[in-house]
């Protein structure tokens, strides 16, 4: 739902790291599986936003980060595709998320 504004936020942030956004070739971002962001939609909107900012050559490269949980009952670590997931070891609910909520810019590659 907010993928367009997330793209705008990405452009605004990278603008703080480079003198000239036209020099940007790639922006590498990490998106966790549970980050509630539609990466297909991000990939769709990014060229629009890049064009708005005269950075039409800039490409968004998305690294998907898998979600990993630590069961709060038995401390078994398990991957999960959705938040409503029981521990496969003890079948109970309740965990600490170790990864999977990332939404961050990792690096920028300039020409």
């Amino acid at each position: 739902m907010h993928e367009l504004s997330v793209c705008r936020q990405i452009m605004q942030t990278v603008g703080q790291f480079v003198d000239d956004v036209r020099q940007i070739d790639r922006i590498n971002i990490a998106v966790g599986e549970l980050a509630a962001i539609d990466t297909a939609s991000l990939a769709f909107w990014f060229p629009v936003v890049a064009g708005e900012n005269e950075a039409k050559d800039a490409k968004l490269v998305i690294e998907h980060v898998a979600a990993l949980a630590d069961c709060q009952h038995c401390h078994h670590r398990f991957p999960l595709k959705k938040r409503l997931s029981a521990c496969p070891n003890c079948q109970q609910y309740g965990y600490q998320l170790l990864s999977g909520e990332e939404l961050s810019i990792k690096t920028i590659e300039v020409k």
Binding site: M1, F17, L34, A36, L84, K106, V110
Partner: protein
């Protein structure tokens, strides 16, 4: 084409970032939603400094947030200072209802945006000049986006009314995973709807194991005393923590 894996897609996974024949890789390591998180932290600090207990009220449109606030304010305002920030896309109808309860109220109109963010709250606090009490933030009615935007609150209070279906926690997992309190509202209508209260609570507790649950009807008053008591106890606990 990517020189590492030979793909031509924009989305691909690699163990290490690599340059595609470029001069420079700039490390950023910045959370994309950092701006809102920064404002949320600033709000949390302000609440601490001003001895404010902040609650973020969340639900679908029409679950009963504003009605719950009206009744809660009228019951508690003699004993505890209360202020309200109202979030809606348009209009100040909700703020007007709260103003009739005679507590400091600020309406934030988000326009095309479907959620309050921490920046909205920071500005509202500039106008409110509120100290030593409970701040109720009534978010825009929406079970999706407000979950992505922390405001600096102490508690997220999610309302779910019995006309909405017991499977909402399964459908809106981000929201219910973040809930500290769940209020099942409109229980006076239970004889007329097919709502499985125990199932709704069970789903919600799977997502948020420490969840505190209230079942009440704002309209009839059934069950609402427990909510008032929890608020009073939480207020007392926060004051004790601040003065310790």
């Amino acid at each position: 084409m990517c020189g590492v894996c030979g793909c031509s897609q924009q989305e691909h996974q690699h163990e290490h970032p690599h340059a595609h024949d470029h001069q420079q890789i700039i490390a950023v390591e910045r959370n994309i939603l950092a701006t809102n998180e920064k404002f949320a932290e600033q709000n949390a600090t302000l609440f601490q400094q001003q001895q404010i207990l902040a609650l973020n009220l969340l639900s679908s449109p029409g679950s009963g947030k504003t009605s719950l606030l009206e009744k809660t304010i009228l019951k508690l305002k003699q004993a505890i200072n209360i202020a309200v920030i109202e979030g809606d896309q348009y209009s100040d109808r909700d703020a007007e209802r709260i103003r009739r309860c005679q507590v400091p109220t600020e309406q934030v109109n988000t326009g095309k945006t479907c959620h309050l963010d921490a920046h909205h709250i920071a500005h509202a606090m500039d106008h409110l000049q509120f100290k030593r009490g409970i701040l109720m933030i009534e978010n825009v009615g929406n079970l999706v986006c407000p979950a992505l935007f922390p405001l600096g609150e102490h508690y997220k209070v999610v309302l779910l009314s019995v006309t909405e279906g017991e499977d909402k926690p399964v459908k809106y997992q981000e929201m219910f995973a973040q809930a500290d309190v769940l209020i099942i509202n409109k229980i006076d209508l239970l004889p007329y709807v097919d709502f499985d209260v125990e199932a709704a609570i069970a789903y919600a507790k799977k997502l948020s194991p420490q969840l505190k649950v209230f079942q009440l009807s704002v309209k009839s008053g059934e069950g609402i005393e427990e909510w008032y008591q929890w608020l009073q106890q939480s207020w007392q606990a926060s004051i004790n923590a601040l003065t310790a």
